[in-house]
């Protein structure tokens, strides 16, 4: 028996450990280095109208939810109705970051699934996403009135996360 012949088995065992680990874990947020730091600056055209601009300055003076999305992201499709409902029910200020997407796809997507955003920044290169430390789509940030990031959610927002985390935090931040 050659050691080389054991390599496939070894690779497979690593995979099994990973899969087994995946079975036991639920999505959890990990601390982002950006928490309690100022929101990274950006200035991008809006998705719906390229002449409009969306920048980090828009976040100042109110508590803002900033949601990273893309039309190619299947998890976003699950998340979207929850955001739409959330925006409608709680009058929350939600901005979007449309990440590495095509404008036409993004517009169509909003047309079909609804648009919970005041505006979405069109980040076709993904550079702003990198500045914001986006791992993958979707991600959601909460930014306080002074423009400081106070919370980051990796993966889709659920009703439970909104009720348990996002809404209490927004209420608290609004009083600050």
């Amino acid at each position: 028996m050659k050691l080389r012949a054991l390599l496939p088995l070894l690779a497979f065992l690593i995979l099994v450990v990973l899969l087994g680990y995946g079975l036991t874990r639920n999505p959890k947020d990990i601390p982002s280095p950006l928490i309690n730091k100022a929101a990274p600056a950006f200035d991008l055209p809006a998705v719906l109208n390229p002449d409009d601009k969306v920048s980090d300055k828009n976040f100042l003076g109110k508590v803002t939810v900033f949601n990273v999305w893309a039309s190619w992201c299947s998890a976003c499709r699950d998340e979207h109705p929850i955001l739409v409902k959330f925006a409608k029910e709680h009058k929350t200020t939600i901005y979007g970051l449309n990440y590495k997407d095509q404008r036409a796809d993004a517009i169509r997507w909003l047309g079909i699934f609804g648009n919970p955003y005041i505006a979405s920044a069109y980040d076709v290169t993904g550079n702003t996403g990198i500045d914001w430390g986006v791992y993958g789509v979707p991600e959601t940030f909460i930014i306080d009135k002074k423009g400081i990031i106070r919370y980051k959610q990796i993966g889709p927002v659920t009703d439970k996360i909104i009720a348990d985390k996002i809404l209490p935090l927004i209420r608290k931040l609004e009083k600050e």
């Binding site: 028996m1 050659k2 012949a5 054991l6 496939p8 088995l9 497979f12 065992l13 995979l15 099994v16 990973l18 899969l19 087994g20 680990y21 995946g22 079975l23 874990r25 999505p27 959890k28 947020d29 990990i30 893309a70 190619w72 992201c73 299947s74 998890a75 976003c76 499709r77 699950d78 590495k100 036409a104 517009i107 169509r108 047309g111 079909i112 791992y135 993958g136 789509v137 979707p138 991600e139 959610q153 990796i154 993966g155 889709p156």
Partner: protein, 647 residues
């Protein structure tokens, strides 16, 4: 009573599977003929009881027996009968039963068409398939019994998911499973050969038709899924790199590599341990796909309802089957001697390149599929890597593969002189480049990358034709000589052309599709891609278990009416779920695709109109590939060898 009969049949099938695994495998090791003889009767019996179980579940569906939990969850008395039958495999439990039944069919086929094989080999192959069957039957009986009763019985069923109430779903899963499960035959042959230490070209020749057959089914199965997604999801896309699509695509990639590597092992006696590895991998990826779909570790539109015990069970099963075979490989593969030396430039080298590229592509797809899971395991939440990654990586690796695909069949085994090859292909190469350049300047709006693909298309077709010509070049009567070429050559010829056709479809659809989402009131019209679309308004129509708003759109070109399309927005009454039924005017050169969006009041609708050039070529290409596969199986070489060995 009928469900209990089904349940009992499953238990009997399990007992027979145990007999089919134990006696032949041990018997082959100990050389006990009478133990080995158990294999075939056990396989036949198992097939019969699986059929009874399947028939029992189908009967419960047809009779609307809502005292069966699975039927109550997935059917309804208003559901048309053809969907009641296809609902059998519409959800987790029943699709597992289908999986087992199909494994039973393949096992039966192996037992019937293996008279020419040495008894020890047949026993081992059937024994390994029995082992797999045990795993799935245990899984079904312990975690996912489709015959569980619901007491008291439901008065009405919850209906089948409306997305699945479609012709595509009737045939897509059976085809796909025929492919997935079919790789278990190649797998069983590989394990049997490792156990018996008989890895020779005879083994490769026996495996080849089975592998190609499974590959054909998988090709068609995947294509059907893509076609279904195209017209049924109302989105107009045909491939999404969804984890479950990837789960079916990875075994296909490895299966394609395996087909090519088996050719080397059969003809030259080389690549033996590599071929065994691919056979193990192809089926392992089929199993991994099953795990991904049914355990809930990845998010997907296809994912079945999840249950942690199922995940743990399948993972344990994966560990035993794949881990066990890789362990066996580790012990035995070191002793495999590959014969057949070859020089750096030869058909072997090109086929090795083919294999490496396909495996690398499969690895990138696996990485992209599992990357979200890796992050998830680190507690980073569920995310999508997304189409940009997959499209980029896939194109990056596949273009060189397709380029080499044209050269491979023209090269000789063992050693190929470069000058000789250049003599065959230089002209075609120049013609292809010129075609590309000409199309860039003549077709107007074309981009260089599309012109490149046109050149590549010409390159594949041209070199395939050259290859065909070379086969009859020195024959006195070239036309009759064409009939003497083995069918397996035509199989390869067609399969490669299928790839070229597919590539053209993908390129044109992704570059030149036009689409508009517009607001239309009755009488409004839109001009797009040379067509005029006039909206005539929407009316209400009723189906057996849904209500629909049906739009009517007249399409004309140069003021001549072509057709009227009637897309629907359906509301399925039981699940209260809306569904978009797109209407499509299909032709070889383009599809016109219309889907209804939302009603906007006053008879106005948002409507999506798409123009998709050459999209049919995508599925046409896959059909051509599958026909190619079928042709090579029909090659008389396989039957001739059988007769000779039998006598």
């Amino acid at each position: 009573m009928i469900p209990e009969l089904g349940h009992f049949s499953l238990i009997l099938a399990l007992s027979l599977a145990i007999a089919q695994a134990f006696f032949p495998l041990v018997g082959a090791q100990l050389n006990k003929t009478r133990w080995m003889a158990v294999a075939k009767p056990a396989a036949h019996g198992q097939f019969i009881f699986l059929s009874i179980a399947f028939a029992a579940l189908t009967t419960s569906f047809i009779n609307n027996d809502f005292s069966v939990l699975y039927v109550a969850t997935n059917s309804n008395s208003l559901l048309p009968v053809q969907y009641r039958i296809s609902a059998v495999w519409g959800a987790h439990e029943g699709s597992l039963l289908l999986w087992s039944l199909i494994l039973g069919i393949w096992t039966l086929a192996v037992s019937l068409f293996s008279k020419h094989l040495p008894p020890a080999m047949v026993s081992r192959v059937l024994g390994v398939m029995g082992l797999i069957s045990i795993g799935f039957l245990l899984f079904m009986l312990f975690t996912s019994n489709p015959f569980d009763r619901l007491l008291p019985a439901a008065i009405e069923g919850r209906d089948l998911n409306p997305l699945l109430q479609d012709f595509g779903l009737i045939i897509h899963p059976p085809m796909l499973y025929m492919g997935y499960v079919g790789f278990s035959v190649a797998f069983a042959f590989a394990i049997a050969a490792l156990l018996g230490g008989q890895l020779d070209s005879a083994w490769a020749r026996w495996s080849r038709p089975w592998t190609t057959m499974a590959w054909c089914f998988l090709t068609i199965g995947i294509a059907l899924g893509s076609w279904w997604a195209y017209y049924e999801l109302g989105w107009g896309g045909w491939w999404f790199w969804d984890p479950v699509e990837n789960a079916s695509f990875m075994p296909w990639l490895i299966g394609t590599a395996l087909i090519h590597s088996l050719a080397v092992t059969e003809k030259r006696g080389s690549f033996k341990s590599w071929t065994v590895m691919l056979a193990i991998l192809a089926f392992s990826l089929s199993l991994l796909g099953t795990f991904l779909v049914r355990s809930g570790v990845v998010t997907s539109v296809h994912a079945f309802a999840t249950d942690p015990t199922r995940g743990v069970f399948i993972l344990a099963f994966l560990g035993v089957v794949i881990g066990g075979s890789l362990l066996l490989y580790a012990f035995k593969a070191g002793n495999i001697k590959s014969a057949g030396r070859f020089s750096l430039f030869s058909r072997e080298t090109l086929l090795l390149t083919n294999n490496i590229i396909l495996v690398v592509v499969c690895a990138t797809v696996l990485l992209g599929t599992l990357y979200p899971l890796v992050l998830d395991a680190m507690g980073a939440g569920k995310i999508s890597v997304g189409m940009p990654y997959f499209n980029y990586m896939f194109t990056l690796f596949m273009l060189p593969l397709v380029f080499l695909m044209a050269i491979g069949p023209l090269t000789r085994w063992k050693r190929q002189s470069i000058n000789d090859l250049l003599g065959k292909i230089t002209i075609i190469f120049i013609i292809s480049v010129l075609t590309g350049i000409a199309s860039y300047f003549m077709l107007g709006t074309i981009s260089w990358s599309v012109a490149g693909v046109i050149a590549l298309f010409t390159w594949i077709i041209g070199s395939s034709l050259i290859n065909l010509y070379k086969r009859v070049e020195n024959k006195p009567n070239k036309i009759t000589a064409l009939t003497t070429i083995p069918l397996s050559f035509y199989g390869m010829f067609l399969a490669h052309i299928g790839v070229a056709v597919f590539m053209m479809g993908v390129t044109f659809t992704s570059h030149y599709s036009e689409e508009k989402d517009i607001r239309m009131k009755p009488g409004d019209s839109l001009d797009m891609a040379g067509y005029n679309f006039q909206f005539e308004g929407a009316t209400e129509v009723n189906g057996p278990n849904y209500r629909a708003q049906q739009g009517s759109i007249v399409i004309s070109q140069n003021n001549r009416k072509i057709t009227t399309l009637k897309p629907q927005k359906r509301l399925y009454l039981v699940q209260r779920s809306p569904m978009t039924e797109a209407a499509i005017d299909a032709s070889l050169s383009r599809d016109l695709f219309i889907a209804m969006g939302e009603p906007l009041g006053n008879g106005e609708w948002s409507i999506r109109i798409q123009y998709k050039p050459l999209i049919r070529w995508i599925w046409l290409g896959t059909i051509i590939m599958a026909i190619g596969g079928l042709l090579s199986i029909s090659d008389k070489r396989y039957r001739y060898k059988r007769k000779r060995l039998a006598s």
